[in-house]
Symmetry: C2
Subunit: 234 residues, 2 copies
């Protein structure tokens, strides 16, 4: 078993750097725009199938109408997630990245455009449900205030160390589907130790979006973040 070094043509590296630099500037523009409106923006990322949409459905059900929220949801294709989130009553904007051959992440310029369809004066919280992918979305700042990664207990323990950029750059982790623990060979303590290895201070919320278990702590954390953003503007 030998490790192989992944050598890329230099030109390709330069292009990737330029794309990221352009994205960084647009993300800062987004961040100023959201700050002026006192809107807290959260970027929710995960593997496909970790339960992001169900978690957000339940989260919106708990927050609204006390917290006024809107959602931008990114998928390569389909409006399934937007359809599921629209039933909460929150305004939902669907971004389909297959307009560009199936982009694997949401970039800052896409968020800028999607936000044009949301009345930012009418909300305090903008939730962005990113494309299901543990790699690329972590590289793209979209102008968010906080990043949350959702990890389900069916995905194995070692994802934090296999996808370290994602877990290092997130401000909180949600460990979802804990209702399935009795049926899995899953070492939860090991999973948490792996998260801590990459990001020692990150709060970890153990929940089941399906049953509602463990949601209180997550909701309180999110409400506190929204309040402090609003207070910063006053």
């Amino acid at each position: 078993m030998k490790p192989v070094e992944n050598k890329k043509p230099t030109r390709e590296i330069k292009v990737v750097r330029r794309v990221l630099a352009v994205n960084e500037r647009m993300a800062e523009q987004n961040r100023r725009r959201f700050a002026e409106k006192g809107v807290f923006v959260i970027n929710v990322m995960s593997s496909p199938g970790s339960g992001k949409t169900t978690t957000l459905q339940k989260t919106l059900g708990r927050l609204m109408p006390e917290v006024r929220a809107a959602v931008i949801v990114g998928d390569v294709s389909t409006t399934h997630d937007a359809d599921r989130l629209a039933v909460t009553g929150a305004p939902v904007v669907q971004v389909n990245t297959d307009a560009f051959g199936g982009d694997c992440h949401l970039a800052a310029h896409v968020i800028e455009k999607a936000a044009d369809d949301i009345d930012l004066d009418a909300i305090e919280l903008l939730i962005v449900e990113n494309v299901g992918n543990l790699v690329c979305p972590a590289e793209f700042d979209i102008g968010e205030d906080a990043r949350v990664v959702v990890l389900s207990v069916t995905e194995g323990e070692d994802k934090p160390v296999k996808y370290p950029t994602m877990f290092r750059t997130c401000d909180a982790a949600i460990l979802n589907k804990i209702d399935l623990l009795p049926h899995l060979d899953y070492d939860k303590d090991q999973a948490i130790a792996y998260i801590r290895q990459v990001n020692p201070a990150m709060p970890i919320f153990e929940i089941s979006a399906r049953t509602g278990a463990g949601m209180d702590a997550w909701i309180e954390w999110l409400k506190a973040k929204v309040s402090s953003k609003l207070n910063a503007r006053r």
Copy 2:
């Protein structure tokens, strides 16, 4: 809920096309090299945590020593999967893409280099375990003979329509973790209908890598592919 068109700068699109065109040429070189040796190459892709590694562990246990196999395993970081696969006795080459800022897929030039560390005269089957990601790996031909997507029943039913390029370009699908079905709100018929919607003719193997259920049909399919590649060379 309004769909947003994802407009990208034209220059970026051209760069992406050039990268893919270069990759295509290197993939064809790989394909010729593997064909000369009579080695059947399978590219195994999925979300993070779908059970690729466990599936391949069990697959190698069933195939070897009758079929002589080697593995190239791609991860952003860690050698966990290679460590798990090495116990099967198959030669394993680990590729860590974080040498290049955490690449989200295996490209043809990476496979070319990794294959240098494998004695192609000593094997009939080369299994490539790609980076866990349902988007980007689908765009990159690595010179494989067949593509297999692993989807676990914990990921929800609609992944085939949300990630259509992956399911459209694959030659077989493995529906894994069927031992968990009694504990999930999962509509297996709907999931299979979604796969059929994207790829009507694709064989679908329903398995539990953990319990071994359903593995026979998958092993027979793979053995037949390896034999026909060997016979093509004779």
